[in-house]
């Protein structure tokens, strides 16, 4: 399994200091990602966060294991140290991921107050999972 890395370098990047790095086999990524249903073809292969010039910057690599194009909807939830949201609910953003493509999403927090985040993901080709019935999406975020 592809090694998944979650890198946090909060607050120290602008000072050029050594940054804490966390890496594991997906546990850290799972704590930052909320999938609406279980995504069959799209996976977060890599997730990094750094605080630069006072702003939290996040880079997520979305990997498409299918040969077919996949539609992705995503948005971030920006949080403070205590887990409170510090920005209004973001709009869902559509993103097309080509077959077998690794798509890189680069996002900067819209507020200096953000120190943490959650990445919400939804793909219309999601399947629902009996193991996680509380987090099941039956409709894409279309209007």
């Amino acid at each position: 399994m592809k090694q998944m890395i979650l890198t946090f370098s909060l607050g120290l990047a602008c000072l050029g200091a050594a940054l804490p790095v966390y890496s594991d086999d997906g546990g850290s990524i799972a704590s930052k990602v909320e999938e609406l249903g279980r995504m069959d073809y799209l996976k977060v292969a890599d997730l990094r966060a750094v605080r630069r010039d006072g702003l939290l910057r996040v880079q997520a690599t979305i990997s498409n294991s299918s040969p077919a194009n996949q539609q992705l909807h995503y948005r971030f939830r920006w949080l403070d140290n205590d887990g409170f949201t510090v920005w209004e609910e973001e709009p869902w953003k559509p993103e097309l991921v080509y077959g077998k493509q690794d798509k890189v999403l680069n996002v900067t927090a819209p507020t200096f107050k953000a120190t943490d985040f959650k990445l919400e993901l939804q793909s219309p080709n999601n399947s629902t999972s009996a193991e996680n019935p509380g987090n099941v999406a039956d409709k894409p975020p279309y209007r």
Partner: protein
């Protein structure tokens, strides 16, 4: 009969039971429902709410990363915004983009002064307080104390529309710039591209 002395009791009991089975929502009217204002809007290829929201978001994030803007926040500098110019053939209120960007910036400490259409209301109010004779001089806002901005935000929306057999392709390009008013130097600019395809 047991209920003969209270003929209304069975009816009241039935009514209360039926009331327990349905829960009425605190709504009035039928046929209209509230949707998610943050949902991806794919009603038509025209610019829509998702385009406005994602464009404003991208521009705000890009501006916040600029050292100049962080300097403006620190030094309590002033911004003003000219409305984003609509160069497309379709009608939509481009002020939505400007207003959202300004609103997001202000939440981060950016101060901006009013301009354009809003200026008339400001002038009217100053005149009312100073010339109508209705207000105490000590409490009236003084004329001549408005502050000028050092930087101006402007932008434009352009589009290219193409039609083929069974397909309509619309490409939008939204551009925004931050200009130093005194020198006219463009200190920051960014753009957002959007492609919308309708297959029919």
């Amino acid at each position: 009969m047991k209920f003969s002395r209270f003929p209304l009791l069975p009816a009241l009991l039935a009514l209360s039971l039926s009331a327990c089975q349905t829960l009425n929502s605190p709504t009035v009217g039928k046929g209209i429902s509230y949707g998610d204002s943050k949902a991806v809007e794919t009603v038509s290829t025209d610019l829509g709410s998702t385009d406005i929201q994602t464009t404003s978001e991208k521009m705000t994030q890009s501006l916040l990363q600029t050292p100049l803007l962080q300097d403006i926040i620190r030094k309590r500098g002033l911004l003003m915004a000219s409305p984003v110019e609509n160069k497309t053939s379709e009608y939509f209120d481009t002020k939505l983009i400007t207003d959202t960007v300004l609103s997001h910036l202000q939440k981060n400490g950016v101060r901006y002064v009013i301009a354009g259409d809003e200026m008339q209301n400001q002038v009217d109010e100053l005149r009312r307080q100073n010339q109508s004779g209705l207000y105490k001089k000590s409490s009236a806002a003084k004329v001549g104390n408005m502050q000028g901005a050092q930087y101006r935000l402007d932008g434009s929306v352009s589009s290219i529309t193409k039609r083929g057999s069974g397909v309509k392709d619309v490409y939008y390009k939204i551009n925004m710039r931050l200009i130093e008013i005194e020198s006219g130097i463009v200190e920051w600019s960014d753009e957002k591209e959007i492609r919308k395809v309708l297959n029919y």
